[in-house]
Amino acid sequence: MQSRKLVLALVILLGSVAIMWGQSPFAPNVTGPLSQRVVAYQIDAKYDPAKHAVDATETLTYHNLTGQPLDHFPFHLYLNAFQPSSTWVHEAHRDGNFRTSDFGEAWDPKHSGSNEVTSLEVVGVGDVTKQIKFISPDDGNPNDKTVFDIALPHAVEPGQDVVFKIKFHAVFPEVVARTGYKRTFLLAGQWFPKVGVWWNGAWNCHQFHAMTEFFADFGTYDVKITLPKNYVIGATGVQTSDTDNGNGTKSVAFHAEDVHDFAWTADPNYKVVESTFNGSEGAVKIRLLTYESNQSSWQRYIDVMQGTMKRFDDWYGPYPYAQITVVDPPHGALEAGGMEYPTFITGDTFWWAPKGQKLFPELVTEHEFGHQYWYAMVATNEFENAWLDEGINSYTEVKVVDSLYGKNTSMLNWMGAQMGDTAEQRSSYLGVAETDPLSRPSYQDMSMSAYGGVTYGKTATMLLTLENIVGEQTLQRALHAYFMKYRFTHPTQEDFLRTVNEVAGQDLGGYWQQAVYGTQVLDYKVRRADSTRVDWSNKDAPDEKKGETTYETQVLLQRLGDFIFPVVAQIKFDNGETIREKWDGRDRWKRFVYVKKAKVLSVEVDPDHQITMDRDYLNNSITTEPQRAAIHKIASYWMFCTQFFAQALSWLT
């Protein structure tokens, strides 16, 4: 088509200009293209801060690389999710809330958002606005307006392009589900009409769900945003121009390549803090958009970004882009925190955040940066297999923060209390251990808490447990291989499982069947551990004497859950001897018998505490002598709390 050449020429021109200005979207050692570019978006948007609204024109060039003619195109209109009868709100209401927003009671109009396509023209076809048809492929909800379909009078042949010219009016909600405004702050995510993905022989364009929202094709983005000139702005990609319009506004242009989404943020109160990460592909700019109030967290953001980027670079692969923008949302905008878009993430902190408490900003920032790998580059279908995105990212989060802050203190090391990220992931998994398999489409999980516990917690604990079979280093190599092979593509869960099998040199099918496709629960127990004299029936036997009397020790291990997994048991005797036994766990129980001149002291399954999927750690050991220290310690704390509460109440009398 004629206009295709025009658009491509414009894209090349803009890209060339950006490079000339030293504004390449890539790190110094990288040259594109890195992906099979299916889409090219050009958006010219005007932001009205008073109305929290954007009026924009969008030109989308779609390159048909599917190998077959396409006669209709579905588009996402995510902001329409924020309407009381949408599927998103229905799901949020069903579970009572979404993050910090309450959806359990009456609809609050502040949560309203919308995205209206005011004009849609297909170049070569004409205006097709009236042919817009809303569809609900997932639940048939006739009131959901988050996906529309447009049928073309004639198909776009393989290898051809089609150009859509769209005018739209987007209204943002007060910040919810990581998009919207708060005072002068705006986070614009999922804000423009975005075409679906032709995948596995069909269009894949799910409605916006409370639990999932990402899947899009790679391409280029050239976005110009006009807004009041006192605003500081940040966005996906790199800034290519900043023009004062002379009327109190300015237009800022951004360019991004080999990304599959575009988000931006603006606030006149932003402070900009910059740093440089020197990775294997050269210097990457870290641009932190933050606030004066959060000054105590500025260095913490930079430190965790540096530490995280270094580990990802060393372990999994290079970060190829020129910049990563980190947004620190303002107070009261917690809903905007903890979000990922290509080359653009949002963290979270409070001005009073204590240092040993790693959730804010360290853990959030690490997690969101991890998504640059397990979402932005390895672009899996989050709607259907969120575990490949959030789950693998939770596993790498554990590895990175443990490396940065200590295995048992990576989550919390404050006021004497400690908690590692492994325990956090395990904790979220335990509550929903048997509700949903990882392989289930994520938006169909039982509830939001099940989605969270299964997608994040179960995947992380499942991979940590897998280290027992293949080894930590092998799994790291597998993730590296998976990243390098599938970055800038849309791999499936089978691609991931196959890669791990190949790198490990093992068929892990039995493990995957239980951990990924099944809901079996892993639970091993030490059922019995005791020693009796071998001469127990001899009435004339001499008195017991340590080191001389011979005992028969019985150890009985039991598999309570249906998840079969090889385990190690450690048996300690009172002569200092320690034995480690392996059990494949296939039978329901296993007995070990020892005849020694020593009595058993303790038996413990998984003595190194590495089978994090084990549902119940409390039944993993038996001792023959009472262990009272922990009991006394917790009971004394409990007693103190009772006493303190009692004396505080007595103040009222």
Binding site: Y617, L618, Q627, K633, S650
Partner: protein, 327 residues
């Protein structure tokens, strides 16, 4: 009086020290209730951890992950014990309502009571103090509502301004004001209790208003004393928690003793406030010879109100009694 020339704070402390048996008994009851309150948790923990290595991570540190697993395990259900702990905690204020009459009588007379004398005094004031406690709920509840309003206001304003700290500072300032008012209400009702004991006032409704008048007219002196003693309580609590957080996790005996010292101090400080109030009242309102007191049928004494203006420095010199002040 032994502390006639001491300042009120010092005289109150001295009185608590001389009559420290009171403190030890109050502490003993608090400990007993604490033990009973923790018994359910102890049993649950015993069941889960007595013959298990799972507790090691709680001994060698305080692994919150393991603690949460303990609380979440249906078989252990540690949180079920919270209800019984709460119940035993609630018994303590009831106990204090009962014995505070006896405690104030001991401080009034500044002599050792027999158990019979103590409980007779406690019993004779019990219902009066129950009524006072009920009346006191009104101002306490009003202040609670005020605090809730301040919280909403701080959220409202904080949500609309750019500086993140604004809401917090509004809440902080409001909370400080409410805490000071709470302290004044506590002082007011403490004076009412002291007045009931020292003057054997039986009518609690007028007693409240007379005590309010006394407390308001002498607010500078009395409030300063209460504030000073409360400061000691807060300082000890802060230092105690600071040390507690610095202790090695394996120092279990110390982590038992330190919290108990904190509790003992908190209880002692409260008695210190009461002792100071009694001392002040005896100095500036009325004196009652100890040997004239009948606990079951206290001797009538002339009702005399304290001076209208706060004394410049009651710690240095006992002022000349004003006109109408019984001596």
């Amino acid at each position: 009086m032994a502390d006639e020339n001491k300042g009120l704070v010092a005289a109150g402390a001295s009185l608590v020290w001389r009559r420290q048996r009171v403190l030890w008994w109050v502490y003993a009851v608090n400990v007993a209730l604490g033990i009973l309150g923790a018994a359910g948790a102890h049993t649950a923990l015993n069941k889960a951890l007595k013959y298990s290595l799972a507790g090691e991570s709680l001994t060698k540190g305080f692994d919150l992950g393991m603690y949460f697993e303990l609380t979440d395990q249906p078989a252990v259900n540690l949180m079920r014990s919270a209800g019984s702990s709460m119940l035993f905690a609630l018994l303590f204020p009831l106990f204090m309502v009962f014995v505070v009459g006896g405690i104030l009588a001991v401080y009034r007379d500044d002599r050792r009571f027999t158990a019979g004398e103590f409980f007779a005094a406690s019993g004779s004031f019990f219902w009066r103090f129950v009524r006072l406690a009920i009346f006191s709920l009104v101002p306490f509840a009003l202040l609670g509502m005020a605090l809730s309003g301040i919280r909403r206001l701080s959220d409202y304003i904080g949500d609309r301004v750019i500086a993140a700290q604004t809401g917090f500072y509004i809440l902080l300032a409001g909370t400080i004001v409410v805490v000071l008012l709470l302290l004044f209400v506590r002082l007011w009702f403490d004076i009412a209790q002291v007045r009931a004991v020292v003057q054997d006032e039986r009518r609690m409704w007028p007693n409240i208003w007379k005590a309010l008048g006394i407390s308001w007219r002498n607010r500078l002196t009395l409030f300063r004393v209460y504030l000073c003693i409360s400061g000691v309580a807060w300082a000890v609590l802060a230092i105690g928690i600071f040390i507690w957080a610095k202790l090695p996790p394996t120092a279990t005996p110390v982590t038992f003793v330190l919290p108990q010292l904190i509790i003992l101090t908190q209880l002692g400080v409260r008695l210190w406030q009461r002792a100071s109030a009694v001392t002040w009242y005896k100095r500036h309102a009325v004196e009652v010879p100890a040997d004239t007191v009948e606990f079951t049928t206290p001797a009538p004494v002339e009702l005399v109100e304290p001076p209208a203006e706060p004394l410049a420095n009651p710690a240095e010199d006992r002022p000349e009694p004003e006109e109408g002040l019984a001596t």
